[in-house]
Amino acid sequence: MSSFRMTESRLEPAAAAVDVTLPAGQGWTQELAPGDIFRIVDLEGNQAVDTLFFNGRDIDERYSATETIRAQGNIYLTTGTRLMSSEGRPLLTIVADTCGRHDTVGGACSAESNQVRYALDKQHMHNCRDSFLLALARYGHGMGKRDLPNNINFFMNVPVTPGGELTFADGVSGPGRYVEMRAERDVLVLISNCPQLNNPCNAYNPTPVRLLVWPKV
């Protein structure tokens, strides 16, 4: 497996059933049916998109970073990666990727982790955990903080060295790059378009992303 593998999609945005632009700092939920294709476009480049998936028929089954890592024997996500659930079953499969590498070790920023990582006076800053919580509160169905396991950071680069060091490297994405995945079952998508300003995960300039869904043909 090479470190960066690019795969393009033939789907036309004009044919998408959902086509929205999500500004930085906002959350979003979307239900997918089996076979639907979901694409995230990094419109301006180097934007981290914190993402979780749930089995749409049983939200107790949800995305698992460790199951996904172990299932493919690799920590980086790209074309061919099956995004695995906490029950060890695929929720979605990445079918196209023009970025080539996505993170699932770095998690989501929060007011509390910003205090630890940067300074105690950072608690006021907007963060992904808050966007997740608000999006889940609006979605309802009793979902809340217990439904925030470790997420995917699309377009984010968090290399781990053979010695076990973890670093936040400059982004590997660029304007217009995208990642596309096929739902393998009913799926609930939860996104926070990351507002982090304390590290280079968004190149210190959080920007909008475009979210598209094509129904199964």
């Binding site: 460790t66 890592i69 998690g107 989501a108 990582r117 439904d147 470790n150 973890l166």
Partner: protein, 244 residues
Amino acid sequence: MTSNESLWHDTLRGGQAWSRRLARHQRLRLRDVEGRACVSALFYNARDPIERYNMPDTLKAQFTAFLTAGRVLYSDMGRILCSIVADDCGWHDTISGIGGADASRARFGEGSYQALRNDFHRNGRDNLLVELGKHGLGKRDVVSNVNFFVGVTVDETGALAWRPGNSRPGASVELRFEMDTLVVLSNTPHPLDPGSTYQPPPVELSIGTGPPAAEDDRCRLSRPENGRGFQLTEAYAAEMAGVR
């Protein structure tokens, strides 16, 4: 044990699950008697288990992909559940998760209770669900876990590799709790362990008391992030003392 007083000790049989609340400043030592154990662990705030171990926050704050002495385990609320005050292994995994019934059956065969009685093949996920159920918790509470005594490395391409000989007979790791913590353990084979027979070895557990983290504590000083983590944890202890 670097603690002052031993309160309790027991042996976890191979395949056994376990849970217990540890009080702030108590210590838990795990000892790998035979040198090839995997103890999968989850940690929750004992008073408010919606707060729990957070793998990414733990790794990000300490710029590491593994755990060893001098490092701490963070909750999702920016607080330190426990510190690793002693470690003979040098590497404990937290990125490669636990196995379930399907993986166990594929590797080791059926291993049913009907056939094997209490030597049946318990698996990590089911063990954690059983223990979590005793505390009103369940599937929603199974987050990325720690695998004590297990080493899994990552190469330049991101590929995982099992670290042979990561532990050895008699190796131990000792935790000092910084919050009142519910600890849930499963002594079951790691799914990446190349061993082909179901033989999880025994693990000895010792609980004791000891001094709190001093101003010059290794875990507190190992990263400026940890200094802030201890400050937030000590503020929470004061908060909870006020509402007792």
